[in-house]
Symmetry: C2
Subunit: 200 residues, 2 copies
Amino acid sequence: MQDGKTAERIVDCADDLFYRQGFEATSFADIAGAVGISRGNFYYHFKAKDDLLEAVIARRMANTSVMLRDWEITGEDPAERIRSFIQILIRNRDKIEQYGCPVGSLSTELAKLNHTAQEEAARIFTLFRVWLRRQFEKLGRASDADALAMHLLVRSQGVATLSAAYRDPAFVEREVVSMCAWLADEVAGGAAVPSPTKPH
Amino acid sequence: MQDGKTAERIVDCADDLFYRQGFEATSFADIAGAVGISRGNFYYHFKAKDDLLEAVIARRMANTSVMLRDWEITGEDPAERIRSFIQILIRNRDKIEQYGCPVGSLSTELAKLNHTAQEEAARIFTLFRVWLRRQFEKLGRASDADALAMHLLVRSQGVATLSAAYRDPAFVEREVVSMCAWLADEVAGGAAVPSPTKPH
DNA sequence: AAAGTTATAGGACAATTGTCCCAGAAATGT
DNA sequence: ACATTTCTGGGACAATTGTCCTATAACTTT
């Protein structure tokens, strides 16, 4: 059972192709070609395309968890950790400009397809959401931590979408600066905002 | 040449299906079935799928223009007009929850497919962008009108994506309230803020 | 070296894809 | 009533889709 090598390579390539081309638009032939194996061999490792999709989502979940844990360790304080999140937009700028956000675009595509894995894909958002929430709690914003976390998710998703639409590198830069400024204001502000953004 | 009837019905159905299923995931058979014509007949009206896509985009552009002109007429003042924009999220809440934003999701899909019509699709964003910019200019925010317009586009795109991911009706409501509150702040603020976008 | 397990390539499969062609029907103009 | 244009349905086309099957190659374990 050490097909780990091949199975892993398949998931690797599928992950990349699903991001760059979309799930539906990526065929087994595409993946097989990228991995360098025959199309038939495929079904030894994954008996259906949906199984492969689930493996890809699981892989993204794992990768995301590792990344968040990394930020937790590297970041000196919560505000700096949150900035790590904001700056994915810069780090992955080129790819986002070409293909949008991997989490958002997959989630939206699966929603359209009425695919059962849609909820699974949305859990990657939740990983970020919970992590961000905890950072805001540590900043003394326990009462509206979730709203603040969602605000950042909303803005990064919007930036990703519009970045892919306009392909304007300067735009992402400006938005990141603006988000960091917002963060500084919020942190400085201290008390919870009266504004309605205050769920659970 | 009064195939206008059929051709229009085709574009109508294609528009709807491209939104609900995605461009790539929608086949001619799907559209033909929805319209109630034969698959073969199709090529009399549109000689290729890409032609149909362009017609759909043109239709969306036209519809958007009409809508914006309508808001221009109906809205008493710029702030109220901008609120009309924000509240599309409420008006189309159910559809957005199921399929995301039609503009954003199409643009992202076409970006992934490296489709030539991607730029065309992005022009729908520009329609909103220019319109919003003009409203902010009328509010005396000429210096950062574009940044404010983009801020609203970013947030509504993000809300649409996360709404489709979580399918939480209350979330959209909260975000709309928050965006309106931001607008009131900006309007009340008067002078241009140092950091272009400063929600809160 | 033999036996057994695991992995791979290649091809077959029905179904569906976008595209094209053509015989007529329907409408239009004379 | 006739001729011409405009439209439509049905089917054929090659290519591609996801899926499945089988013979064999590549390993392990004896």
